[in-house]
Amino acid sequence: MAAEINDDIFFATIGELDSRLKAREFSDVDLVRAFAQRLEQLGPRYNALALPLTEVAIRRAKEVDSDLKRERYRGPLQGIPFGAKDLLSYANHPTTWGARPYAAQVFDYTATALQKLDKTGAVLIGKLAMVELAGGGGYRFPSASMFGPGLNPWDRTRWSGGSSSGSASAVAAGLVPFALGSETSESILTPAAFCGVTGLRPTYGLVSRYGAMALSWTMDKIGPLCHSAEDCGLVLAVIAGGDHADPGSAHKGFYYAPQYARPVKTLRIGYAPADFAEWAQPAARPAFEQALAVIRETGAQLVETRLPDLPYSALTATIIQAEGASVFEPLIASGRVQELADAKQIAGLKAGLEISANDYLKAMRIRSQLQHKIRLLFVDVDVLISPSRFGPAPKVTEPLDKNPSGQTPKDLGLSALIPAGNLAGLPALSLPCGFTDGLPLGIQLVGPAFSEGVLLTVAKEFQTRTDWHRKRPKV
């Protein structure tokens, strides 16, 4: 008799699902149907669902069952249902980019990352909601999406984070075992932290952007959001790799081999005391300090460090707004930009057209310096650690440009690690590390380019010593 598909399965890791599928405890059709129905039923509760793909998914699951019956094994993702941010094209189905002007957009090709997952037997069960145009113009409210504000499964009055809003909330609520998201700056790490899931932003160029909406050609990255670091490693191993269809491709692969990883106790991990004592919101400090204590217990050497002083916000905004305005110039020129949901986003996109070539080039030249300085920083440390966000998810009605404390500490510490890491194209992982007021908090690890294996090793060690990634919201 087939095992019942219950909460233990809805919140299981990829490894657990793979073992049970291969042991024939249930068929892939049963598994995919259960997840797809759950996503259709509960996805709208969190404004997480952009497009259900139940029928297509069940047809694909039948093929997987046939393969499993013949013992044609294609890897640990075979038969695992998943969701993808609605910024990735899926041939002959709508791809809205979360924006009303593109509600009826249909491409005749599939994004490389989705093709790779399909080839290994993973089953796409739905497209997931996102902030419109990945928030490229800068948005003021979580409601900046044609799907409405992403609602947090831990508290639906709170935001799920953006721009990969649906990807994070769907994983957190056990609607998909994993999801693909994207990050230009903060769009994987922030929703991962706010929803209490593990999110991986790969090195720029490691995962093909072909078939993904372009916002910033020099900063866009595709990555997974999962229940654990190990799951992120399994997904990355499939979606990474060179692609001639992506001009930014690094033409490198990734092999997840934790058994050959460098022991964590031999690593030097850089942190900034100001992040924990000054930048973190007071109620969140105990959880962040406890996370640092867990890292210390691994035997890793903790080293004080800080980022070089540079205008990170100005750099990130100038580059993303200039590139984004160029990408969306036809939308702006047509006047349909006014159909977007967020007034600040509309104004930001339009203003981006006024950034001069001189300003853009200046930002890109400073970016060269930043990359050099960050390389020097990694001479002294192997990994950087800092809170992913300094507090929990804000209320969905709160403006996002409001500083919760109203104060800015003088010591920069690693507080600008998200923009700095994105400008330098570095990989990062956000891990659940505790709660404040019943809301999840996340801690981020950042390493040199192509150091995903090291980050995953530290993260896996952290998750063997803690169970924050195992916590489930009441759905």
Partner: protein, 68 residues
């Protein structure tokens, strides 16, 4: 991964998108559009000023051929 899509499939898919969009939460009242335009332009001016404060050696090239 190529699937034929029928008009019925497309209508159902778009219906789903439209259905979700129809129940979307409205953005809170956020002021006049021209206020946002002026604020966005002012922000770009502030970014320009912040970038201008960074001294760059004449030999520094932009990160055009961007490889991590």
């Amino acid at each position: 991964m190529s699937h034929r899509i029928t008009r019925r499939h497309l209508a159902r898919a778009l219906g789903s998108v439209a259905g979700i969009a129809a129940v979307r939460a409205q953005a809170p009242s956020t002021g006049q559009p021209q206020d946002f335009d002026a604020a966005a332009q002012e922000q770009i001016r502030k970014y320009r000023q912040a970038l201008a404060k960074v001294d760059l050696p004449v030999s520094t090239e932009p990160a055009f051929l961007f490889k991590a």
